[in-house]
């Protein structure tokens, strides 16, 4: 049953949405809108294809054509609350994570989404290309450019403070 499979994918959907939006609330709004769409179009899901890719595609499209315009325009990057994910590795690791999130927020939309699909979620290139509806070659070069941009941002400390 689709609903149960959806429930199992919720943590990944939230993570993907978070890496696109950076706001917990916006991300969850996005997931909710996407779920509404997914459940409403469940007959469009082709059995035997990857449900995760199908859902990510819906999330991406919902972001681009609906939710994006609803987030507060003046919203500058709002980092996760202090101590949010401070795990066993303490403050230094937290600073590192914040830097990455900040750098991600400075990428172009296109670059950010491809990074979210492949590096954050770990989708294979083939699936990421399917989500974005682009040929493999385009996916590979876009991902390479996105990584370059991200690396550059990360090595520029001033950009991240």
């Amino acid at each position: 049953m689709l609903a149960n499979e959806l429930a199992a994918l919720l943590p990944r959907m939230r993570r993907f949405a978070r890496s696109i939006t950076f706001h917990r609330e916006d991300a969850d709004d996005l997931v909710q809108v996407a779920m509404e769409r997914a459940l409403g179009r469940s007959e469009q899901y082709t059995d035997g294809t990857r449900l995760d890719s199908w859902l990510f595609r819906i999330i991406r499209n919902a972001w681009i054509d609906e939710v994006r315009s609803r987030v507060r325009r003046d919203a500058v990057f709002a980092p996760e609350e202090e101590g949010e994910h401070v795990g066993h590795d303490g403050a230094e690791a937290q600073v590192q994570r914040m830097a990455v999130q900040k750098a991600m927020s400075l990428l172009s939309e296109e670059h950010r989404i491809v990074v979210a699909l492949v590096l954050v979620d770990g989708l294979p290139y083939k699936e990421a290309a399917a989500v974005l509806d682009i040929p493999m070659g385009t996916l590979t070069s876009r991902l390479a450019r996105a990584r370059e941009a991200l690396q550059k941002l990360l090595s520029d400390e001033r950009a991240l403070t």
Binding site: P11, R12, V33, E36, G40, V100, A144, Q151
Partner: protein, 249 residues
Amino acid sequence: MTFSDDILMAYADGELAEPQRSQVDAAVRADPELAAIVERHRALRARVFDAFAGVLEEPVPARLDAAAASKVLSLDAARNARTRAAATPAPAAAPVRQPVWPRWGALAATLVLGVLAGSLWFKDDGGGFVGADGGGRLVARGQLAGALSRQLASDPAPNSPVRIGVSFATRDGGYCRSFSVGASAGLACREGETWRIPVLSDKAASGGAYRQAASTAPEAVLDAIDERIAGTTMNAAAERAARERGWRR
């Protein structure tokens, strides 16, 4: 043999197939510069992954969990939840956010609209299948209301989007009828002049197969029937007679 950065990236990501993988593998072993490039790709990937990994550990907010785990709508439960929510003062510092559900507000937020195929169900012009009564409860509108009042389970109307499943008398002296529209199914109970819908659910879609003829009601609907039914479901004659009486006993 030289390799482009894209190839090295794909290698670092474990995306290369043989024989290319072995070729790059050999080259990386022999050339520390190539090895450094591959290592940078892997390090960046690990770093980005780590930055968002914590989200997987977070508890999923109830509004999402409920939506996915159960596409069943119990408007009564939803109303109670809303009452509770309304009784909880909002934190003073909460930013003003545009609602995700502009038109249907709290009601829509509690409806898992996927069940309802969105606009097909809710239309402001009265052409939809359901609406909310004054108490925020789900009631049948338009074609659905008409079908519930007129169609017979024993005599399906070929041109109607609504299919009636079973009709039965309830323990509290009323009538309820199960119905389905497209991939959704529910139970409607006569209250005065309206059909109230205590439960609406997605048909258990088996792998997305869309079976027009599926007559199996979702478990939630069956449960709701069990809770209410007095005796057995009505036969064709009893159904006709109830219709003549306008579903009043």
